[in-house]
């Protein structure tokens, strides 16, 4: 079970040992939306918990909902009230660290960045993976968007069983 956000266990900090952050590590950083929030509206998740000099998420946001400020090594801060989940921050992030998740009844949706060929197509049945790359469940591709302004980072939307919403981060390469 994930740790409570109040008592983060350092043995659960896996970013620098396994390569991907654990849910506990992300919760401690305050970047994991609750199920209630995801049921209320699509939630941007910025899984960027290390101070690196980078702020394209801030400049990509037309609502001013993402703030990095000065210095640009600040971690991004999201204002969920202002966020319309337009998704422009997904391809803007050079670290591919932004996804958008939502819950509708017992189904969940995720929008994530994708830079592998071949691109999936609408209707494809795909395998969704967690942050360590372990397959967790199947899903159905709802859309694949790759307009010129994305500069070759496609944004894929997949629907899947809601119980896996916290763990799913991307899909397995075909």
């Amino acid at each position: 079970m994930p740790m409570s956000p109040d008592a983060p266990d350092t043995s659960d900090r896996t970013l620098k040992t396994l390569g991907a952050p654990s849910l506990a590590e992300l919760r401690a950083a305050g970047v994991v939306p609750s199920r209630e929030e995801m049921a209320a509206k699509p939630c941007v998740c910025v899984e960027c918990i290390e101070e690196i000099p980078c702020n394209p998420c801030e400049t990509s946001c037309p609502q001013g909902a993402l703030t990095v400020g000065q210095p640009i090594t600040n971690l991004p801060v999201l204002d969920r009230e202002k966020c319309t989940a337009c998704g422009l921050c997904i391809p803007a992030c050079p670290g591919l660290a932004v996804v958008i998740k939502s819950l509708e009844g017992d189904r969940a949706k995720i929008r994530f960045p994708w830079e592998y060929l071949p691109y999936p197509a609408k209707g494809d049945e795909v395998e969704l993976v967690d942050r360590l790359g372990t397959p967790v469940c199947g899903g159905t591709v709802i859309s694949v968007l790759n307009p010129v302004r994305n500069n070759r980072t496609a944004v894929v939307t997949v629907e899947f069983p809601g119980e896996y919403v916290d763990d799913v981060i991307s899909m397995r390469r075909p």
């Binding site: 899984e47 290390e50 101070e51 000065q70 210095p71 090594t73 992030c93 591919l96 830079e115 991307s170």
Partner: protein, 368 residues
Amino acid sequence: MERDTKPAVVVGAGPAGLCAAIELKRAGAPVLLMDENAKPGGQLFKQIHKFFGSQEHRAGVRGFEIGRDLLRESLDLGIDVRLDTEVVGLGPDLKVWAVEARQRSYTLEASRIILATGATENAVPFPGWTLPGVMTAGCAQTMINVHRVLPGKRVLMVGSGNVGVIVAYQLLQAGAEVAAVIEAAPALGGYGVHTAKVRRAGVPMLVRTTIVRAEGTEGVERAVIAEVDGKFQPQSGTERTLEVDTICLAVGLTPSIELASLAGCKTVYVPELGGHMPLHDEFMRSSVPAVYVVGDIAGVEEASTAMEEGRLAGIHAAYSMGYLDSGEMEKRTADTRRRLRALRQGVFGEKRFTAKERVLAEKEKECP
């Protein structure tokens, strides 16, 4: 002030050298840009990922696009770019000895020299490291992103710094499998967002792990890895064999300081910045006042910092040659230094910033 009519010679047309030449030319100073390669751009054209930084650092733009834009700018400005031209010698008298296309040799007198010679990838020796299939990460990156040749089907990446994890990602994009990324230190080196995108693609990352040997007859067929103790010694009984046909080494870079040494530039040893490097001041001037050092030769960092260092040196050289007044020089370098400072913050940047401060202080002490 009388203007120097002999050209400033920039050696190396990577991001740092291109930016130095652009600033010199913009200021109206005569400049020659030389590069031993057939194409300019240094490593930029291999970088197919989106860069970090802020908008003014061109964050979110892919490296090769930045290279393309710099190249276009240098051509629009009419900079004399001499490709296939190797600078093989130079002395404190600022005489540059160049060899063109390995056929024609000539010397010319420069008023300033800006060394943007970059860095060389390190290697680690282990039994089997001469087998075909063992290569540096930069080599694999050149093969996949420039020549579009896959070096192998299944790769072991040795080293988890940004170079290792970025190239691992690009190998996946090119269609290879990456069996693992291994790291001898107890913590992964690269940005977490880079390791996370490779990890979610199913690539295991193993810390406290080293390569013991490569096995194979005609080429690499297997890699044997093992866990290390606190002194980086492999622990017996922890060996594992990975079926791979390619082993990539991403174990750091060393500044290429040969020409700086020939010019008589004093050096200092800074392990955080890759080893021996020339001393320099805040305008990137070495201990030889007419010789500047910019980019990885002045401490291994990133393309974004290399470009700003190149601009600093280009602007200051143009000023010292009489093509900019001190007010204009101060104004133009102030912007550049502000942008440079922004790139050297946070857990990764601060270490480099502190190291660079040490270099400046040492320079001040050695040649006030």
